[in-house]
């Protein structure tokens, strides 16, 4: 396992800790998803699968795979497919896929939130954009 892989695992744990801590204070974010979307631009699918499974393992909240989790797990692979198909630079591809991924996530799980809680969605996406770019920057440094 490379140094970058260890950093990636550490980033998932940091994202999870922040997400759960903020959630316990009533501020729900999806930092793990934004980290996974950033990973999709840096890792190949076998390693990405491990990170997605680690995240699903931590985020799974009941003894059954829910549609939420399936969509959650599919979005990083959609970002990976985007990377392979269009070969955008990660600094541009990560924000674009973060926005598209989060909008798709909300549309798939709770479309009503766009009408009821649009500001909360915008804040969630802004937080995810920042965390995704930080994740990318940290992993690029770890590679050097």
């Amino acid at each position: 396992m490379s140094f970058r892989s260890l950093i990636a695992l550490l980033l998932i744990f940091i994202a999870a800790s922040l997400q759960f801590l903020l959630g316990s204070a009533g501020m729900f974010t999806d930092l793990m998803l934004s980290a996974l979307i950033a990973f999709a631009f840096l890792f190949e699918w076998p390693e990405l699968s491990i990170y997605v499974l680690v995240a699903v393992f931590m985020i799974d909240w009941q003894p059954a795979l829910t549609p939420t989790l399936v969509v959650f797990a599919a979005i990083p692979f959609a970002a990976y497919a985007f990377r392979k198909l269009f070969a955008w630079a990660p600094w541009a591809g990560i924000p674009l896929m973060t926005i598209l991924g989060f909008v798709a996530f909300y549309l798939a799980i709770a479309p009503g939130m766009f009408a009821n809680a649009a500001p909360s969605i915008v804040l969630d996406i802004l937080g995810a954009l920042i965390f995704g770019e930080v994740t990318f920057a940290v992993l690029m440094r770890a590679e050097r």
Binding site: F57, M58, I59, Q62, Y106, A110, M113
Partner: protein, 234 residues
Amino acid sequence: MMPERKPNLALLGVLACVLLVLVIFQPSYGWRLRAFLMPSDIAAGAGSQASGSAMGVLMAQNDQLKAQLAELQGIAAELPTSSPNYLRAMVYSRYPLNFKNELFVDAGMDDGVATGSAVVYEGLLVGRVIQAWPHYAAVETVFDNNFRLPVRIGKGGYDGLLTGGSYPFVASIAKNSPVAPGDVVMSAAPGVPYAVPVGIVQATSTSPDNLFEQATIVFPYDINQVQTVLIARP
């Protein structure tokens, strides 16, 4: 390059299998990991920074409390663990994302939990069971956007519809009903014990369509701090 990737792929494959087995068959390890990552008592951290003298006082109080605890545990052994109409359950985990507000509890169908059962915390209705497994159940709380419950308000028993969300409110109250801040909002739905308090009216206003009144509610608890609940037996 290839000879290096093969062992990596094998290792990743084994790791993926282990994680899949854990996700599907042993999710409780994931809940424990979450509990580890989310310290439940942040105040304990603040306490560790207390000055030396304050620490001495705290330690003395701790000893006193331990003595009281030992005394009360002896008494507690003699008491019934819960009401015959309710079943006590511990909260295992919470919905971790932004879309819902649900709890996951450690009592299920084998314990007598049924879908639709009312869930109560400190005498207040906090939600309803939406799905039950043999040993677990998922609870939709009043803070979930999908939560709806017919309620009555105040001494006059004015009808309304509790509408869940980050800021739950009572909708569809007949216009000119004398609902006032401080009135209690209580359950009035089939399948849920009658007149279980839900919260207190904070303010009233006219609905956007001008046809009804609506009322915002205050809750004397923080749903994120709820560790144990009572589930109504069917």
